[in-house]
């Protein structure tokens, strides 16, 4: 379980996360919605230890990400997929995927490479396994990014707007992979602007507004007229998102 308790984070004078509480249980798919600048990326970056918390506590399977020793364990249990892919440019797709399994999980290189190829095959990229990131399209790069995360066999996947740098056609390729992962029971926390997609795959939806988690509801309730939609802030957000 990922547990976020009373998390505060400020950059200089600006408070970006203002007392966040959130639990993500095994098997859940939690979407984080919220307008630009509401702190969604910062929350994800706090979960994977890229930002130091100013107050509060985040644990992943009881490992506290604020303690360097426990962070290592926490990171073995979670994996992140990034908006801008962040693939290693000097390595092929296979090498990108196999690096951490070999170095961190101590899987023999041959085995890790075979696993990487199998993962690429599962996302329809076996033909591009030996290509470098710069030789791949955006959608292909992001699929490699997902494989790189999955290769660590994480219990939790953290995804921050992973389709927002992609055009619609590529977006649907990537979302199809996420839908499959969700139906396989992969635990995911994902930040997205794809409202309809969030609605179809998530078990819960949370809504961030100015650094506060103002709504945390099961998906059906969130989208129900007398649930989340009853809150003017959310109705306004959703109608704006749907217009775009």
């Amino acid at each position: 379980m990922i547990s976020v308790r009373g998390v505060r984070k400020a950059f200089g004078a600006a408070t970006v996360l203002d007392g966040i509480d959130l639990d993500v249980h095994s098997g859940e798919v939690v979407s984080i919605l919220g307008s630009s600048g509401s702190g969604k990326s910062t929350l994800i970056r706090c979960m994977n230890g890229l930002e130091k918390l100013d107050a509060g506590c985040i644990t992943i399977d009881d490992f506290d990400v604020s303690r360097p020793k426990e962070l290592t364990e926490a990171r073995k249990r979670s994996a992140t997929v990034f908006q801008l892919f962040n693939l290693y440019p000097h390595m092929t797709a296979v090498q990108n995927i196999a690096l951490a399994p070999v170095e961190v999980l101590k899987i023999p290189p041959k085995q890790a490479e075979a696993d990487a190829r199998a993962l690429l095959e599962s996302v329809g990229l076996s033909a591009r396994a030996d290509a470098f990131p710069s030789q791949l399209s955006g959608g292909q790069r992001q699929r490699v990014g997902i494989c790189r995360a999955l290769a660590m066999k994480p219990r939790y996947l953290l995804l921050d707007e992973i389709t927002s740098a992609l055009d619609p056609e590529m977006t649907s390729d990537v979302l199809a992979i996420l839908a499959k992962l969700a139906s396989d029971g992969t635990t995911m926390v994902f930040v997205t602007h794809e409202i309809e997609f969030a609605r179809t795959i998530s078990s819960r939806v949370v809504f961030l507004d100015k650094g506060q988690l103002v709504v945390d509801l099961p998906t059906a309730e969130f989208f129900a007229a007398d649930g989340g939609m009853a809150k003017p802030r959310i109705a306004q957000f959703l109608s704006k998102m749907r217009k775009d």
Partner: protein
């Protein structure tokens, strides 16, 4: 007086020996500069203010002292305090230290140009700091720095001619000897001009090829 290269014929083996010595010194100094350069670049970009300060002092110091002064200090100065090294070892060490200062600066800018997102991806995947440095930071920094490192290496070759001033008969040193034996400085130094120009030209071709190989993914063909 006529321009007559044939008078150099008997001296060719001697000159070739000098050229081989130049090549040996340069290759060793290249390796030395790269090792020093990578370590110093790591220190400069490290989180420790003390280490990075020390590394900066080294870089500033050795880039701002004429090479010949460094060389004389090592060769004529150090024996005074009981450190004796032969001319070849002194030359290689001096070239490595001087070259290391320039190399580290090139590698440092290669490191700083790496997209932080890439480093964050490596970090969250659980890779240790040393592994990230070895597998990601250094390879990316080196491949983006091939051309500027090549210029540093070419400078190293040119600078190696100064080793002739500490009794080392590398290419320039042996040419000097042949010039004074034959009294034909015009021919011999003309040959030397061509020799250095060809040497550096070949090296720059090799650097271009290495750059293209290491950055082959950027060429547009899969």
């Amino acid at each position: 007086m006529t321009f007559d290269l044939t008078i150099l014929a008997p001296h060719i083996p001697f000159l070739l020996k000098g050229a081989v010595l130049t090549a040996e010194a340069c290759v060793l100094a290249l390796v030395g500069s790269l090792c020093i350069g990578m370590i110093v670049a790591a220190l400069v970009t490290s989180a420790s203010p003390i280490l990075s300060r020390i590394a900066y002092i080294y870089v500033d110091l050795f880039r701002n002292i004429p090479f010949i002064v460094q060389l004389f200090f090592f060769f004529y100065g150090l024996p005074e305090i009981g450190i004796y090294l032969d001319a070849f070892a002194t030359g290689v060490i001096a070239l490595s230290i001087a070259g290391g200062a320039f190399t580290s600066d090139v590698i440092r800018s290669g490191i700083l140009s790496i997209d932080t997102g890439i480093l964050e991806a490596a970090e969250v995947s659980g890779l240790s700091k040393p592994t990230i440095f070895r597998k990601i930071v250094m390879p990316i920094a080196l491949r983006t720095s091939v051309r500027p490192l090549g210029s540093v290496f070419i400078n190293l070759i040119l600078t190696s001619s100064i080793l002739s001033t500490i009794t080392l008969n590398e290419l320039t040193g042996s040419a000097k000897i042949v010039a004074s034996d034959t009294f034909r400085p015009f021919e011999i130094y003309a040959v030397l001009l061509v020799a250095y120009a060809s040497l550096t030209y070949l090296v720059s071709l090799a650097i271009g090829a290495l750059h293209r190989y290491l950055n082959r993914d950027q060429s547009g063909v899969a």
